[in-house]
Symmetry: C2
Subunit: 356 residues, 2 copies
């Protein structure tokens, strides 16, 4: 409607509504003491002029920047990208974050950082200085990276540690890994499996440990053994291949595998195929993550659905609402679910010369 209009500022609104800047500011920010009549008048002006406060200016004067920063590892992201592995984790985290941020008038930014080297401090510091975010979201394995958490708490920037439940600064948030592994294992036990193996993730991830615990607990509850049924990978495809081979070579009587990532499950599926095993007839398979790829494999994989987006969303809300009383170190947990598809079935009747 207008021509190349210059930016509409709070001053324009103030003039239009014939009030002071301060009053407009109060209306915009839902300030408490404004007469309803004036408030409406100002609102009308804002509407008419199409005024939207400038994020930069808000940051400059106020205490908030309305920015939540999500940290990701540059190397890993780059590698995933080059090799066209899915970066579904990033996806999910972004979506959960962006959606929730925008609901509260915040924005989410993603920062790629070299989290391995000692550039961490430098790079993260630069990002924090430039952006001055109101909160930061850390995902595994950064959630327990000392350099990072210390830098953040030194700067007094609130942050959420996803996939970490240790005490310390930052809001710990978990995704029910122990419970999820327990759930998957129990389901397999119920189907009749007696030799249920697990391909775990790398030990530097806390969640790897939790999953192993859940698996062991379910096994114990069902009176099943776990000895020799554990292998660890690094979440990647190749490591899954190695682990699955080792597992099946060592345990010919193994009839079910839980893999700690979709990529490793895919690898296990391939290994099974190589060994002439038909999934799920001869071998049941459950994966962690439930990224889009597992719906299109042959057969589609039963998977633990990690509520990443939901968790990040919760994290954002925690960060934004931090003002209203500190969350006293209480771990926040979002539970995972099991999506049953076609890679799970009862074990073959003859297969197990178990109690040999």
């Amino acid at each position: 409607m207008a021509r190349v209009r210059k930016t509409v500022t709070i001053r324009d609104v103030a003039e239009d509504a014939d009030v002071s800047l301060q009053t407009v500011s109060r209306v915009v920010n839902g300030g408490p003491n404004v007469r309803p009549q004036l408030r409406d008048k100002v609102r009308a002006s804002i509407e008419r002029l199409g005024y939207v406060p400038s994020l930069a200016a808000q940051r400059m004067s106020g205490s908030r920047s309305y920015i939540i920063l999500a940290i990701n590892d540059r190397e890993r992201t780059l590698a995933d990208w080059r090799e066209r592995r899915g970066t579904d984790w990033v996806d999910q985290m972004l979506l959960g974050g962006i959606l929730t941020c925008s609901k509260h008038g915040y924005r989410m930014m993603v920062e790629l950082i070299d989290t391995h080297s000692d550039h961490v401090e430098r790079e993260l510091g630069a990002a924090l200085s430039a952006l001055q975010p109101d909160g930061v979201i850390l995902t595994p394995p950064h959630s327990e990276n000392r350099l990072i958490t210390e830098l953040l708490s030194a700067r007094a920037i609130p942050f959420a540690r996803i996939g970490s439940d240790v005490a310390g600064p930052g809001i710990p948030m978990t995704m029910g890994d122990e419970g999820a592994a327990h759930l998957a294992t129990t389901r397999l036990a119920e189907l009749g499996h007696r030799r249920i193996a697990m391909i775990a993730g790398p030990s530097q991830y806390s969640l790897s440990g939790w999953r192993i615990e859940g698996w062991k607990r379910a096994l114990a509850e069902a009176g099943l053994p776990h000895e020799g049924l554990l292998e660890a990978g690094d979440f990647g495809y190749e490591s899954g291949t190695r682990a699955a081979r080792a597992l099946l070579a060592r345990n010919p009587d193994c009839t079910a595998i839980i893999a700690s990532s979709d990529q490793m499950a895919l690898a296990a599926l391939e290994v099974a195929r190589d060994r002439g095993l038909v999934v799920p007839r001869d071998l049941s398979l459950i994966s962690f993550d439930n990224t889009p790829i597992v719906r299109f494999t042959q057969p589609p994989l039963t998977a633990i659905d990690q509520p990443i987006a939901e968790t990040v969303s919760r994290a954002v809300e925690q960060l934004i609402a931090r003002d209203e009383g500190d969350n006293g170190g209480q771990v926040i947990e979002v539970a995972a679910g099991l999506v049953e598809r076609s890679s799970t079935a009862p074990p073959p009747p003859v297969s197990a010369p178990a109690r040999a």
Copy 2:
């Protein structure tokens, strides 16, 4: 090293180096007229103090915001998310964008907008006012959305139109869709296929047309017909199922299909399986996009690799370098490649009672 230090500002650096604010600013921004000696001194101070300019302050005073905005459709993104369809496109675009932005000291932000409704102007306007980005990246189908492009040019914000080559404001960028379709079709023709079908995308996407053109051109060059071999979908799985069924029902002699998206290719794969056709023995299949899922289907799909990340990266560079002479409406094209996997093979020897 320091305690809860207050933010280091340009003033601190100026004092430390015993020069004026302005001189520091010049050094930071690579200003032209500074004595080398002074420059080094200032650099040393910056280094020592760990100074990083505040984005917000830069935006406030200067003309640039160092922000590039990428527009995505909220509904579609949300749907993809809920149904755990891969949002690889978003991924790729983000990665290409973020990486290139950070290389130039810029940041990329993603904005989800209701691009269908008439909220577009409102929502986009709000985002532009709040963020005041230095550039905007539009992806299909927004690249040719009048409301959007006009709003952007009215505000004089440079933008790139990915997947669009029409004249007008904004930098047009394409990904060689015509050439890619031609390449895929030609490859199939070389393998000996005579009835090569295409499942196209929706017509409101320019690239759908280009792909059809490339397919027809290759067919014509090989002396093959195209009549009755074209179906259109909406890029989604279900539409692919419908299209593939129609195609195969109408053309029992069809031995190859090119699908305009991975999801539709997946659907075609499933349809073929239902009809008892073995891919690639009885039917060859090539998809567009090359998202991570097509590597893990049975068989893995041969696919056109859309250089999304690369294109977005180029777009960002164009936007950042816009100052140095307008890009006179010349279309920028990044070529796509063909990734051969196992869904393509020569047609079955007997199959075609073609010249009936």
